[in-house]
Amino acid sequence: MNENTVFVKKYRENEILPGNESEIWRYAGFLGSSSEIDGELKHTFNEVQNEIGGMFSYKVCYRRMKIADRKKDASLPFLAGSKALSALLKDCDEIIIFAATVGLEIDRYIAKQQKISPVKALLSNAYGAERIENLCDTFCEDIKNQLQSENRFITRRFSPGYGDFPLEKQKEMFALLDPNRQIGISLNESLLMSPSKSVTAIMGIKNEKCESTSANKCNECSNKSCVFRKQGNK
């Protein structure tokens, strides 16, 4: 891959991993068992699902880059300064840096529902969150498969705002990816992305297979009181 090129990958709905309803409920703050979701709520959920069907446009732009010297590399300044990221990239000599979005339409839908039905706003917001996570999973799976032919492996993905990797680094990620031009993501003054259902992240590439990535990633986050924090291994 040419380091200089930002590639764009667009997915159709049917190319994305299937939706995970229990994740959507978790994002919506529902932590009970699905049997507790009664008729009216389920009905509202189905309505939301129908109304936002076809609203998502799945896009990723990415770039594969060599890590020459982690401390000095002018084009990868953000690699320094985060212990968590350094740990992740240990033994990696390349990275994939990417930005992904499911588009602006879902934001408009959420905003509209804020004025009509807060329940629908909550559920569609959760739905959008699940979709973007799913897009990232799909993309990472793609890259993983692609790298198999080179006998190379990827680490899990890591985003600005995770652990000690400051949100400030979004600026550098944006400078490298130009996601505004590529797929229409822009960065706000408060380092928030628009469309809101967007993600930027880094993955390392190395020669050995990485340890299982299924470990609870919530463990690395410092926000211990987060309502979404997955319980389990502390």
């Binding site: 932590l31 509202t44 084009s75 408009r108 004025k115 807060p118 628009s194």
Partner: protein, 806 residues
Amino acid sequence: MTVLEYMKNNLVRLDGGMGTMLQKSGLLPGELPERWNITHPEKITDIHRQYFDAGSNIVNTNTFGANCLKFGDEELEEIIKAAVKNAEAARNTSTGAQVKFIALDIGPLGRLLKPYGDFDFDDAVECYAKTVKIGAQCGIDLIFIETMNDSLDTKAAVLAAKENSDLPIFVSNAYGEDGCLMTGASPAAMVALLEGLGVNAIGANCSLGPAELAGVVSEYLKYSSLPVILKPNAGLPKSVDGKTVYDVLPEEFSDLMCDYIKNGIRIFGGCCGTNPEYIRKTVQKAKNITPKPVTDKNITMVSSYTHAVIFDKSPVLIGERINPTGKKLFKEALRNNDIDYILNEGLKQQEKGVHILDVNVGLPEIDEKAMLEKVCFELQAIIDLPLQIDTTNIGAMETALRHYNGKAMINSVNGKEENMREIFPLVKKYGGLVVCLTLDEDGIPETAEKRVEIAKKIIKTAKEYGISKKDLIFDTLAMTVSADNNSAIATLGALNTIKNELKCHTSLGVSNVSFGLPHRDILNGAFFTLALENGLSAAIMNPNSNEMMKSYYAFKALKGLDENCSDFIENIENYAISQSSATANSPVSENLPDAESELQRAVIKGLKEKAGSIVSSLLENTDPLEIVNSQIIPALDIVGKGFENKTMYLPQLLMSAEAASAAFEKIKIKMKENPTETVSKGKFVIATVKGDIHDIGKNIVKLIMENYGFEVYDLGKDVAPEKIVEEAIRTNTKLVGLSALMTTTVPAMAETIKHLREKAPYVKVIVGGAVLTKEYADSIGADFYAKDAMETVRYSMEVMENEKAV
């Protein structure tokens, strides 16, 4: 020869990709290409020269990202000057014999504008203006605004170009596979917007290869009366053996481009992945193609940020409900700054199927200019219908038009000289379809002939301002037949002549015809049908009127405007039942013995409609306060406790809250009849702090607080500390709630608290949001950290109880 003169009779050849060429010359990832104008002038000049040598008439300066967000003022000026100089050097040394021009290239700022981003429209205009001003001083031939993926951002750049230079303006937008801009605008919507703004050429560039842009190109050629630009990518980049290659090669590219040129493209070049070879091949092959003439399509249209509404044979419905005239609740909403009420009027009309929303918020005691701008902005955040800006306040009209995302309808101008002098310059500057009332200094003429005369005068005057007939729509003024039995005849006569002889579109405020008469709806419906048959193009109407909607669907079906009568079949059911039988059918009660517990159950189960209808019937013989205190609040408490004990979760809490809101709606209306009674537990000002645009959590708190009887003043999101303080003082609230969702915006929360402590020290501040913790809340001096909506309610009740006790 100027570029405008040249393009009249010639095809115009543009250049190809700049970024691709720069990378080949050694530009590093993350490096700003604009700096190369200064550091590597010879390389930039060489790229331009290669394009001129390949046959380009226009090269774009290397200033795509040259704006004040990326560079300081001084460096910006240096960069742009150097960029123009580099292009000039190329022009002077190129061997190409063709006519050559230099365009100042302007790309998007990279910031999304409000409401979905945080960048202000006026700031964007100012930012583009800086670039334009410097460029214009350097002796460029035109301004080329390109790769814009948002309609409002495009408008900001065009306004900056218009206001700071007299240069020709070319505009090209970047479309996705769905044939729309990233923020949703269709090609027709962009044609409407940009023709309205008076630019010189429009089209598409970047993001896709030539083949994929076929749909976009054909839309442009169908709607545009301006020369159309096409500057596609060389397909998509692919990685082959560690090298990047684009999948459309010069041969194929140039063949495809020639097909488009034969179909009417007048201005062509390439974008990402193309190089001088692509341009050379295309120029050679296009050499003998005779340019297809650019014709006036004579299409009357307005647009929103997504689509255009075209005035043709099928009648256009303009919803009239956003208007305080004769509406007590609407007036009250305006006075209280209750934007949600107004938005709901818009949403309801959209649901009913209107195509355009009229927006009138004029009330003597409010700041109409600020209100109109705010309402249009909020409407455009959630409703994708074009708006008709309806005001007699010229200042308000200008501000609204300037910030409107699309090409608006303007209501209105009339035949008075002074009025035309005020309105037409605005139409010319911002674009718009203007409603022309056929009245003048002498009032409304009684006869059709005289109204037609006024119409002719308006057409003539508009022409002097450079506004063509297609942007005028005539309202021949419906007057009540109760005052003058012949008034409808005059209105219809004038309508007929204007439509069929002057060939202009027409509109009417239909319901005026029945003023002062019983069962107005019936007369309105009949008059609407008559007017449509006489050539009415659009009606300003109430979509809640069954008779009007019946006329609309029936007319379309009878006049061959409704294929297979499918619209009629699909919609007429909604209007076939009369109002009275409709309410009788609604499920008021299901024969349950105990209506009391039924309401509680409806609230707990989140049955919105049921809760509303049960309350309606209860209100017939129960005191509203009694219903609130003995039924709704206890039901909410059950849910609230369930939530606190984690036997119920947020979605369920909200379902109940919505059901309770539906019940409160009915209660509020009832209580308006007896205004001394109040359910208010106290006031509560809430906002998401500056810099933060998350508001789901904040809205949840708002809803639950309202349920518990608080009067909530919601300032929205991204609210400056000063504004929050101002509102706290204005409302004399004891409670302020602040929400922040990001680590980067929590400081704005601290700042707001500081301001509140200074100006309104008696206020208790509640904070919340995903990144906050109790410790953090304490450290920024908040009175209370609420981890969810229920905690906010509990604390607020406590505060108000203590207030009472004091």
